[in-house]
C-alpha cells in the first residue's frame, strides 16, 4: 500500500488511528499489538504471501536475539550464533535481491541463453534485514537490550518505516514502545504529524510526479539524447528523486508522529550541501548513519589495527601522508560506498554509483586534509555558489548511473550531456512548459527552509545561499490549517493516478 494512495488515506490510516485512539485507553499491550497487526496488514496488502517471509525473518531474528542475550557470558558461542544469524539474513537478501540478476548477468555475458525465472523482490527487504542485523550486533555488544516479542515485532514492522525507511536504530525507537509511556492520542503530535504528512504528500504528488514524465522520457531514449534533452531529463530526474524521497521521508516521519513516535530525520536539504561529505550527512541520513556505524567504522578500525600492528601511527598527522591517507581514509570510504552501491541494487551501474561517491568523498577528504588554508583556490571553492554548484554537479553525474537501466545507458546519457549526440537546442521549443518546472524548483530548494525547519523541529534554521529564513514557521493555527488543507485539496485533485516511490525498489 502506498502512502499516496486513496486506499491508504481513506481506509487504512483512519482505521489504524481510530484503533489507536480506542485501544490507547487499555495500555501498552493493546496498542503495540494493534499497531503490529496493522503493520503486518499494511505489508500483506502488497502480496499476502510475503508476510510469511517477513514473519519468518522476525521469528528467526527474535529467537537469535534471545539466544545471543542468553549467551552473553560465553562469547565464542555468542559469536557463532551472531555469525549464523547475519549469514542467514544476508543469504535471504542475496537470494531475493542479487542471485537472479547475477545469474542473468552471467548468462548474458557468456551467451548461454538459458532461461531462468526471476523472483519478485519483497518490498522493504533491505530495510527490515538491516534493521534487524544492527539490533543483533548491538545486542551482542550489550549496547542494546532484549525486547518482548510484541515490541520487537512493532520495531521491525511499524508501517511508516517498513517499506523504505528511515532505517531505525533500536536505541531511538525501542524506548518509545517501552512500558510507562502514555499511548493515548496526543493532539499536539497529531497536529504536527498530520501537517508533516501533508507537506510530504504535497511534495510527492504535486512535485515529484510532475517531474517524472520528463525524466522517464529521457532515460527511456538514451541513445538519441541531445545535449539539451539530456540536461532537461537529468535535471528533472534530480528533482523527481529529491521530492520523491524527501516527500516519502516527510510522510513517514509525519505518520509516526501521529502515533507520538519520533523518527529520526532522513533528509535535510541535500542539494544545499556545500561538499560531498556534507551531502551524505543530509541525504538518506539514516542510511549514512547505518553505513558509518556498521561498515565504515569496522573498516576504519581494522585499518587502524593493521597499521598499529606494523608499528605505524594512526594519528591525524599520519592521515597527511600518502600511505596513511590511503589506508585510514580512502580504503574504508571507498569500500563502504562500494557496498552502499551494491545495497542500492544489483547491477554494474549501482556499483559505479557507489564507487563514484566513494571517490568523491575521498577527494573531498583529501581536500579537507591537504588543502592550503587561505589560498585563492580554497577561497574560491568556499564561495557558496561554487561549492554548492560543484557538489550538485557531482551528485547529478552519479545520479545518471543511479537512474539508468544499465551502464551502457548511463554512458549514453553522459555522452548526451556532453553534446555527443548533438546540441539539440531546437528540441527545447517543442517541450511543454512543465518540462522546465525545475527552473522554478531549484531556487525554491536552495532558497527556502526545509520541512523540519518550517515545522520548528530544529533549534536553528540554517542559513542558505539566498539567506531567506523569513518564511513563517508552522503554528497550529487557522492560517496553517487552511493552507495545508488547500494543499491537500490540490493533492486530491492530482492523486487519481497513484505512482510508486523510487526508493521502494531498494
Amino acid at each position: 500500500m502506498l502512502f499516496n494512495s486513496p486506499e491508504f488515506l481513506f481506509c487504512y490510516l483512519p482505521i489504524v488511528l481510530l484503533g489507536y485512539a480506542v485501544l490507547g485507553k487499555f495500555g501498552r499491550t493493546a496498542v503495540v499489538s494493534w499497531l503490529a497487526c496493522a503493520s503486518l496488514a499494511f505489508y500483506a496488502y502488497w502480496r499476502p504471501e510475503f508476510v510469511l517471509l517477513l514473519a519468518g525473518s522476525i521469528a528467526v531474528n527474535y529467537a537469535c536475539s534471545r539466544l545471543i542475550w542468553r549467551l552473553r557470558e560465553r562469547s565464542r558461542a555468542q559469536v557463532v550464533v551472531l555469525t549464523l544469524a547475519i549469514t542467514a539474513n544476508l543469504a535471504t537478501l542475496a537470494f531475493f535481491k542479487y542471485l537472479f540478476p547475477l545469474i542473468h548477468f552471467i548468462d548474458d555475458t557468456l551467451g548461454l541463453h538459458a532461461s531462468f525465472t526471476n523472483v519478485i523482490l519483497p518490498l522493504g527487504i533491505s530495510f527490515f534485514t538491516f534493521t534487524q542485523i544492527a539490533y543483533l550486533v548491538d545486542l551482542s555488544q550489550e549496547t542494546a537490550e532484549p525486547q518482548d516479542l510484541s515490541g520487537y515485532v512493532l520495531f521491525v514492522t511499524f508501517f511508516p518505516h517498513l517499506i523504505a525507511g528511515p532505517i531505525l536504530h533500536h536505541r531511538e525507537i525501542m524506548p518509545q514502545f517501552a512500558p510507562g509511556r502514555d499511548f493515548r492520542i496526543q493532539w499536539r503530535d497529531l497536529a504536527l504529524g498530520s501537517s508533516w504528512f501533508a507537506l510530504g504528500l504535497g511534495k510527492k504528488v504535486l512535485l515529484a510526479d510532475r517531474f517524472a514524465p520528463y525524466a522517464d522520457a529521457a532515460f527511456a531514449h538514451t541513445g538519441s539524447l541531445t545535449m539539451a534533452g539530456a540536461w532537461v531529463g537529468v535535471l528533472n530526474y534530480a528533482l523527481q528523486l529529491y521530492f520523491d524521497f524527501s516527500g516519502y521521508s516527510d510522510m513517514a516521519i509525519g505518520l509516526a508522529r501521529m502515533f507520538s513516535i519520533e523518527f529520526p530525520f532522513n533528509f535535510d536539504s541535500p542539494y544545499k550541501a556545500t561538499s560531498i561529505i556534507d551531502f551524505w550527512s543530509r541525504w538518506h541520513m539514516t542510511l549514512t548513519r547505518y553505513l558509518t556505524l556498521y561498515l565504515y567504522n569496522p573498516f576504519a578500525m581494522g585499518a587502524n589495527r593493521r597499521r598499529a600492528a606494523r608499528g605505524k601511527s594512526n594519528s591525524r598527522k599520519a592521515q597527511r601522508t600518502a600511505g596513511g591517507f590511503a589506508s585510514l581514509v580512502a580504503f574504508p570510504t571507498i569500500t563502504t560506498m562500494f557496498l552502499a552501491g551494491i545495497w542500492h541494487g544489483a547491477g554494474l551501474q549501482f556499483i559505479i554509483f557507489g564507487v563514484l561517491h566513494g571517490s568523491y568523498l575521498t577527494v573531498n577528504h583529501a581536500w579537507r586534509i591537504f588543502r592550503r588554508e587561505g589560498s585563492i583556490l580554497a577561497r574560491v571553492i568556499a564561495l557558496p555558489v561554487v561549492c554548492v554548484g560543484l557538489t550538485f554537479s557531482a551528485v547529478l553525474m552519479a545520479q545518471v548511473f543511479f537512474r539508468s537501466a544499465s551502464t551502457h545507458d548511463a554512458l549514453q546519457v553522459l555522452a548526451g550531456l556532453s553534446g555527443g549526440h548533438g546540441v539539440g537546442l531546437d528540441e527545447l521549443s517543442m517541450l511543454p512548459p512543465h518540462a522546465f518546472l525545475f527552473l522554478l524548483a531549484l531556487p525554491v530548494i536552495w532558497g527556502f527552509p526545509n520541512t523540519q525547519e518550517m515545522l520548528g523541529q530544529v533549534s536553528t534554521v540554517r542559513a542558505n545561499i539566498f539567506g531567506s529564513r523569513a518564511l513563517a514557521m508552522w503554528r497550529p493555527n487557522w492560517a496553517w490549517a487552511c493552507s495545508l488543507g488547500g494543499l491537500l485539496v490540490a493533492v486530491l485533485w492530482y492523486m487519481t493516478d497513484t505512482s510508486s516511490f523510487l526508493y521502494f525498489q531498494f
Binding site: P6, E7, F10, C11, E172, W187, R188, L190, A191, S194, S195, A198, P264, F265, D268, S281, R282, M285, G456, Q457, V458, S459, T460, R475, P476, N477, W478, W480, A481, C482, L484, G485, G486, L488, V489, V491, L492, W493, T496
Partner: protein, 319 residues
C-alpha cells in the same frame, strides 16, 4: 545534521487541546468539504450534460415513462442501451417496444430501480427482455463507475446513498474528483448541445447511439467470470408475473474477442439465447457497444427470438 540539533528544547507554544483539535479538524475538513462538493454538483440539473458521459446524458428517461404501456420492455446494461433498437423490434414484431436499459454500474449499484419504477407506472408488458454483457452476468464483483454513483446520488436521498459511499471510500473519492473535474471542464468550455442525440434517442424509443466510429480490432480487457446462475434465475422468478414473460440474453461479442469461447460456454443453459459473434466492425466501443448497424442486427435477432417464443407459447396453449 546531528540529532542534538533537534528542537527538543525549542520553545513550544502553549497551545490548548481545544485549539489543536480545531486545527486538526479544519485541516481535515477542507479536503472533506472539497470532496463533498461533488454531491450538489452531481445532483444539479445540468450535470448529466456537463459530465460529457454519453451514458449519463439522459439519466431520467427510464423513470419518466408513465402510461406508455410498452409490450416489450428492454432492460439491462449498456450493451442493451446501445445495442437493442426498439423501433426495429417494434417493426418486426408489431409490438410496442421501449428501451429502459442503463449502464452496468447503475444496474449494480442502484439495483433494478428503473425497471421497478417503470412497472409501477405502466401496464405489465408482454415481455421483459434483459440483456447483459458476459461479465455483467457474473455477480462476483460490483463496478463503481461514475454512472452508477451519479444515479445513486440523484435517485436516492443522501442518507440512503451515504452507506454505499462510506463502504467504498476509494471509489467515492475517485468519483468525487471525476465529478468536480467534469464541472470545472464544463465551466471552462460549455458542453456540446445534445439536442440531436436527444431527438434520436426519443425517436428510437431509448436506443443510445454512441458518437463513435466502428472499431477495427479487439482489445478486450474485461476479465471473464462465470455467470451467477442463481441471480439469473432469481431475476426470472421475480419479474415473471401478471402474464409477463422474462427473457434474459447475453449480448453479442466480436468474433475476435479472446473471451468468446468461455463466454459462449458459460452462458449456455443460463441465458435464453446463445452468444452471437459479430464482426468487429459492428462494434464502436469497448468491444461491447454496437454501431447503429450492429444494433439493427442484434434487434432483428431479438425480434426473431421473441416471435419464435411467442409462437411456441401459442402452440403450447393450443395443446
Amino acid at each position: 545534521m546531528s540529532d542534538e540539533s533537534r528542537a527538543e528544547n525549542s520553545p513550544r507554544p502553549a497551545t490548548g487541546r481545544l485549539r489543536l483539535q480545531a486545527y486538526v479538524l479544519l485541516l481535515l475538513l477542507i479536503p472533506a468539504l472539497f470532496l463533498a462538493a461533488s454531491i450538489p454538483i452531481v445532483r444539479s440539473g445540468s450535470f448529466p450534460l456537463e459530465s460529457g458521459d454519453p451514458f449519463l446524458w439522459n439519466p431520467d428517461y427510464a423513470f419518466s415513462l408513465n402510461h406508455v404501456d410498452c409490450d416489450v420492455v428492454i432492460y439491462g446494461d449498456s450493451t442493451a442501451l446501445t445495442g437493442l433498437d426498439p423501433t426495429v423490434v417494434a417493426r418486426s414484431t408489431g409490438w410496442k417496444t421501449c428501451n429502459i436499459a442503463q449502464a452496468r454500474s447503475v444496474v449494480e449499484i442502484l439495483g433494478r430501480l428503473a425497471l421497478d419504477t417503470y412497472l409501477r407506472n405502466n401496464a405489465p408488458p408482454k415481455y421483459i427482455v434483459m440483456q447483459f454483457a458476459p461479465e455483467t452476468l457474473s455477480r462476483s464483483n460490483t463496478v463503481f463507475w461514475p454512472e452508477g454513483i451519479t444515479l445513486l446520488l440523484r435517485k436516492k436521498s443522501l442518507l440512503e446513498a451515504l452507506p454505499t459511499l462510506i463502504r467504498h471510500p476509494v471509489e467515492a473519492y475517485h468519483f468525487s474528483i471525476w465529478a468536480i473535474k467534469a464541472k470545472v471542464a464544463a465551466v471552462m468550455k460549455p458542453p456540446t448541445d445534445f439536442a440531436a442525440t436527444e431527438a434520436s434517442f426519443q425517436a428510437r424509443g431509448g436506443l443510445l447511439i454512441l458518437p463513435k466510429a466502428a472499431e477495427t480490432h479487439c482489445y478486450n480487457d474485461f476479465p471473464y467470470a462465470q455467470p451467477t446462475v442463481e441471480w439469473v434465475r432469481g431475476l426470472k422468478e421475480q419479474y415473471a408475473h401478471n402474464g409477463t414473460r422474462v427473457v434474459i440474453n447475453v449480448s453479442p461479442l466480436p468474433s475476435c474477442s479472446p473471451i468468446a469461447g468461455p463466454a459462449a460456454a458459460g452462458s449456455r443453459n443460463v441465458t435464453d439465447n446463445s452468444l452471437s459473434l459479430y464482426p468487429i466492425g459492428l462494434f464502436c466501443d469497448l468491444d461491447r457497444h454496437l454501431t447503429p448497424e450492429g444494433a439493427e442486427r442484434a434487434s432483428l435477432e431479438l425480434a426473431a427470438q421473441l416471435v419464435a417464443a411467442d409462437k411456441a407459447m401459442a402452440g403450447i396453449q393450443r395443446q
